[in-house]
Point group: C2
Chain length 207, copies 2
């Protein structure tokens, strides 16, 4: 299994080689690739080594080849359909977030239980009823579900999403979700960040 | 220096002893405290050990005493004033978020550069001009600044906040901030979460 820190660094390497290819650089060594990111050459070789043979030792990597290989590994050429569940304060902010498109994630559906919201358009997406969610997720081949509902509704929503076939869940509700083994959940728990900050404010370095 | 993972666990211990004190439990051992959190007794003792002597070995901790000590360490009795900079989609969602109050964080000011927003009220807070930010931060003794502006404005905002005397910054903009050594920055980088998810969607476990 490839460590998540390695995957995160691959995105950094891809950004670097993309810049280099714009500057018409032909080759780059692992030391050069690492230097701008404060990493050693050995770490770069180890990270890339998880994905097979990349460069010829001694003469570095061919920039265009490395860029193409990394783009494939990081699914840069692929797009995936995404649904947001809960269109309140956070859900509507996320619908307006331009960061999804940059990662090839298309927001194609939004769901809510509030009859005053169902049928309305928000950032070009129609809000639909949660009772139709299972059918729409299958129809639109949605693989990623984003949960922006209160904690008490989060597990029910996760159950519908996983039964409908999503592979990943991005969860903003402060609640641990139980999902089948093959579904990946990423929690964004703002309350944990706030706990660290309030600890630091109360015990901060005396300056 | 106390590890952040220890601080995070202290909040979990505090939640547990708070539940126990509601059930009128008098004592709890480190093993009992750890068990419900899947932690060993040694880990619990080590975490609490950073903060001095808590219990009498052999007979566990006094629930009310432990609760009081942890509340003090975690600044649970203190409140801090907070400002939000940027009142667009994300900033206005954060103004509505009930999680701040639970951590003793009072949202007392909001700032923007958009003349159409300045002077309006949002969730009971008046949106003020960024040009008045330095004075208001000093006047209201604001110690935490939240950055919800586009990446290109984030460093300027951080400079004003740190010059005005904030001690912590919660940064939602996808940009690394340079701040003085004694100011603590927590980045919430959604694009990193999305990178991991798109990698997983493209390479997920074949089920
Ligand atoms: N507002 C923020 O900035 C923020 C920040 C971090 C985390 N969160 C978390 O995100 C979640 C949403 O917060 P919010 O501020 O947007 O709340 P909100 O009350 O503004 O919105 C919640 C929305 O979810 C809908 N809903 C409720 N139950 C549902 C269900 N079972 N299925 C589908 N829709 C349902 C509601 O009708 C509403 O539209 C909460 O769990 C909150 O803790 C919010
Ligand atoms: N929308 C989301 O759900 C979301 C999620 C994660 C991260 N972010 C990040 O949060 C930031 C804000 O996103 P948004 O969607 O709210 O954008 P937005 O355009 O809706 O809001 C930005 C607000 O900041 C104000 N602003 C711009 N420059 C400023 C400055 N120098 N000082 C004070 N105010 C300034 C604008 O007038 C506007 O009101 C961005 O960096 C974005 O990448 C947004």
């Amino acid at each position: 299994k490839i460590p998540e820190t390695t995957i995160s660094r691959l995105f950094l390497y891809l950004r670097k080689v993309t810049e280099l290819s714009k500057l018409s650089m032909k080759r780059v060594s692992s030391a050069e690739l690492g230097e701008s990111l404060n990493l050693g050459a050995a770490q770069v070789r180890k990270d890339l080594g998880y994905f097979g043979q990349f460069g010829v030792s001694g003469s570095g990597y061919v920039v265009t080849e490395l860029k193409e290989k990394l783009s494939k590994i990081l699914s840069k050429h692929k797009t995936f359909n995404v649904a947001i569940v809960g269109t309140g304060h956070l859900g509507s902010a996320l619908l307006a977030y331009s960061g999804f498109e940059k990662q090839g994630l298309n927001l194609v559906a939004a769901f809510d239980t509030d009859v005053n919201k169902i049928g309305k358009q928000l950032q070009g997406v129609e809000i639909e009823s949660v009772s139709d969610m299972k059918d729409i997720i299958k129809e639109k081949k949605i693989l990623l579900g984003i949960i922006a509902v209160p904690a008490k509704g989060a597990q029910d929503v996760a159950d519908i999403l996983t039964n409908a076939g999503v592979k990943c869940i991005l969860n903003f509700a402060p609640k641990h979700l139980n999902v089948p083994e093959e579904v990946k959940v990423r929690d964004v728990d703002l309350s944990r960040e706030l706990e660290m900050l309030s600890y630091f404010l109360g015990n901060g370095k005396k300056v």
